[in-house]
């Protein structure tokens, strides 16, 4: 009985394991091998698993122009994007907590940025932010009185003077972070809503009877319940934002001070056709990413074995 169960189990899981090993695990191993070889797209036919290994690619990765600034941009983008999307998701979850008419509809509409195709979402942002006929620029001129067209997505720094102090702000980077917050907050919103629903109402009622105000009930009753969920969300969103490609590639193409590591990998691969270099850059990214992924699996993977 036990043996037949094991045989059935292996038989049922085998197709999935084969696919994952063939299309995920082996390519990763091959990628590691490629990153130690000088391979270009044009000389691809001669590339194999074995070749002349060298550390040349990694030397290039670390010394190439823009490596440090790309890394810093990626860190800023992922930390601020993660924080902003979770904060917005929390605000939304709290605002929609109490039942009201049409709450279901409002909830669905708020999920739109998350479910809509990224290409369409980035494109409508581009049009709205366009300096020639963008609606943001149009109303900005009328309501806030800025005098020149603002190129939100193609301007690296913008001079702003607040109370006579002149500041240079990284405008394009701020816009892609805002986009990230806009697109990903529904994710945090969904998880936090699910968590809020699981808090027993009696806890808050008891606090209310004891005279706790709205903000105190949030601070001392609700918030402690949300912290574990927020921790999980932070790690997950950080992992995925750090390696995000689509959004920035489509919004700015990585220009105007928004080049992140994944866009760099793509440019090495298709622009230069330098496979070795692209592999090395991706491997560096993977090693950096292994820290939070490992942390997530160690901390949350075993205990709950689920995301919520």
């Amino acid at each position: 009985m036990r043996r037949s169960e094991a045989r059935a189990g292996i038989g049922l899981i085998a197709p999935t394991v084969v696919i994952v090993i063939a299309v995920v695990v082996l390519p990763i191993i091959w990628s590691i091998s490629l990153s130690f070889q000088r391979v270009r797209l044009l000389t691809l036919h001669s590339a194999g698993f074995f070749g002349q290994y060298s550390l040349e690619n990694f030397k290039l990765v670390f010394t190439s122009q823009g490596f440090v600034s790309t890394l810093l941009t990626t860190v800023a983008y992922s930390v601020l994007g993660t924080a902003a999307s979770i904060a917005l998701g929390l605000v939304a979850a709290l605002a929609l907590r109490r039942r009201f008419k049409a709450r279901g509809l409002v909830r669905s509409i708020m999920l739109l940025p998350y479910v809509a195709p990224v290409v369409a979402a980035t494109f409508v942002w581009q049009v709205m932010l366009s300096p020639q006929f963008g609606i943001v620029d149009y109303w900005g001129k009328r309501l806030f009185g800025w005098d020149k067209p603002v190129a939100f997505l193609s301007q690296q720094t913008s001079r702003v003077s607040i109370f006579g102090i002149h500041l240079g702000i990284p405008l394009a980077l701020i816009m892609v972070i805002l986009f990230e917050a806009w697109r990903q907050f529904p994710f945090a919103f969904l998880f936090l809503t699910a968590r809020l629903q699981a808090i027993p109402g009696s806890l808050e009622e008891a606090a209310k009877v004891d005279g706790a105000t709205v903000s105190q009930r949030f601070r001392y009753v609700v918030w402690p319940q949300l912290v574990p969920t927020i921790a999980v969300l932070s790690v997950l969103r950080f992992i995925w934002t750090f390696t995000k490609f689509d959004d920035i590639y489509l919004l700015t193409g990585g220009g105007a001070g928004t080049e992140v590591v994944s866009v760099r990998v793509y440019n090495f691969l298709t622009g230069n056709g330098d496979i070795g270099l692209a592999s090395a850059q991706a491997l560096v990214l993977a090693v950096v990413m292994a820290v939070p992924v490992g942390f997530y699996m160690w901390r949350f993977g075993r205990r709950e074995e689920r995301l919520s």
Binding site: V24, V118, V119, T213, D246, L283
Partner: protein, 311 residues
């Protein structure tokens, strides 16, 4: 009891305002957050819905009026102009952009991904949830790692591999990649659901003489149907919206473009193509997902929390 309450409430009603200070912190906060809540809901609705409204609005205005009056927030129904949609949908040979063809490619890829992924992930998740076999834990960990691992890192070797075997432009290669991208999260979601189904139901079936596969087919599968449907919708959404691998694999051959890729390639040379046409293309790309989403909102929202789109 009611008599006492009634007697008490009379003096409380008259003397209450005098005894209580008007500005308690609690009263203020209750009122403040009561209002702030609606302000937040209103603002969030505008922020999330407006871009999509604006997208639809521009797609039905004509280009001249958009350039003359870019700030307009609505359009007169009499000036409704659907020519942009015509240009987007008809084939290149008839002077259009060929989005019907792109939609067909996207549909083939998305339905194919859903079918293939479910075909392997349903038995796989059942096995992980129910059967004891050697390596079960390791496989679980492997899938979680695959699920968390970013796709850009896989992009390089897969691009190289499929170029090498001369399959880079084929939809089959992309299909295979999509399945590998969704199978881990699919197993993850379904496994969690199978775990919630009581084993006793299956044991009862086994006592009645049902074999293992028979039990899975007749008992577990129908019970897991809600989760499987939610999962299918989720996979469809991921495949329809996918951009990176479509860009890497299919960009060279226009006849194989998906809607997402088609839209991004068109916006790349937006000098020649009017914005209204591009907006109509955006609407065409988005509509299937929105229709699907609102038709099955409850299911999909459940599916979204059970797993999450990588990215």
């Amino acid at each position: 009891m009611t008599a006492i309450d009634a007697r008490r409430s009379v003096p409380a009603g008259t003397a209450g305002p005098a005894r209580k200070p008007r500005w308690t912190r609690d009263g203020f906060e209750t009122r403040f957050f009561g209002i702030a809540r609606w302000v937040v809901i209103g603002a969030l609705l505008i922020v999330t819905a407006f871009p999509f409204y604006y997208m639809a609005l521009l797609s039905i205005r004509d280009l001249g009026s958009v350039l003359n009056n870019p700030g307009a927030l609505w359009t007169d129904v009499r000036h409704l102009n659907l020519s942009a949609y015509k240009r987007v949908l008809v084939s290149v040979s008839s002077g259009g952009e060929g989005f019907l063809g792109f939609m067909r490619n996207s549909a083939v890829l998305s339905f194919g991904t859903v079918a293939l992924t479910l075909l392997v992930s349903i038995p796989g998740s059942y096995a992980i949830s129910r059967l004891r076999f050697f390596g079960r834990r390791h496989i679980s960990v492997l899938f979680l790692a695959v699920y968390l691992f970013p796709s850009i890192i896989l992009a390089v070797p897969l691009f190289v591999f499929f170029t090498r075997v001369n399959m880079r432009g084929s939809l089959v290669a992309v299909l295979l990649v999509y399945v590998s991208q969704t199978v881990a999260v699919s197993i993850y979601m379904l496994r969690n659901y199978f775990d919630t189904i009581p084993v006793s139901l299956e044991e009862a079936a086994a006592l009645d003489g049902c074999g293992r596969l028979g039990t899975m087919w007749r008992i577990s599968l129908p019970l897991a149907m809600p989760a499987i449907l939610a999962n299918a919708l989720f996979i469809f959404m991921v495949a329809w919206n996918e951009f990176l691998f479509a860009l890497l694999f299919l960009a060279d051959d226009r006849s194989r473009w998906t809607v997402s890729l088609g839209l991004s390639e068109l916006t790349g040379n937006s000098i020649e193509i009017p914005t209204t046409v591009l907006m109509a293309a955006s609407v065409v790309t988005t509509i299937p997902i929105i229709v699907l989403f609102f038709a099955s909102e409850r299911l999909l929202a459940g599916g979204l929390t059970a797993g999450a789109e990588k990215g």
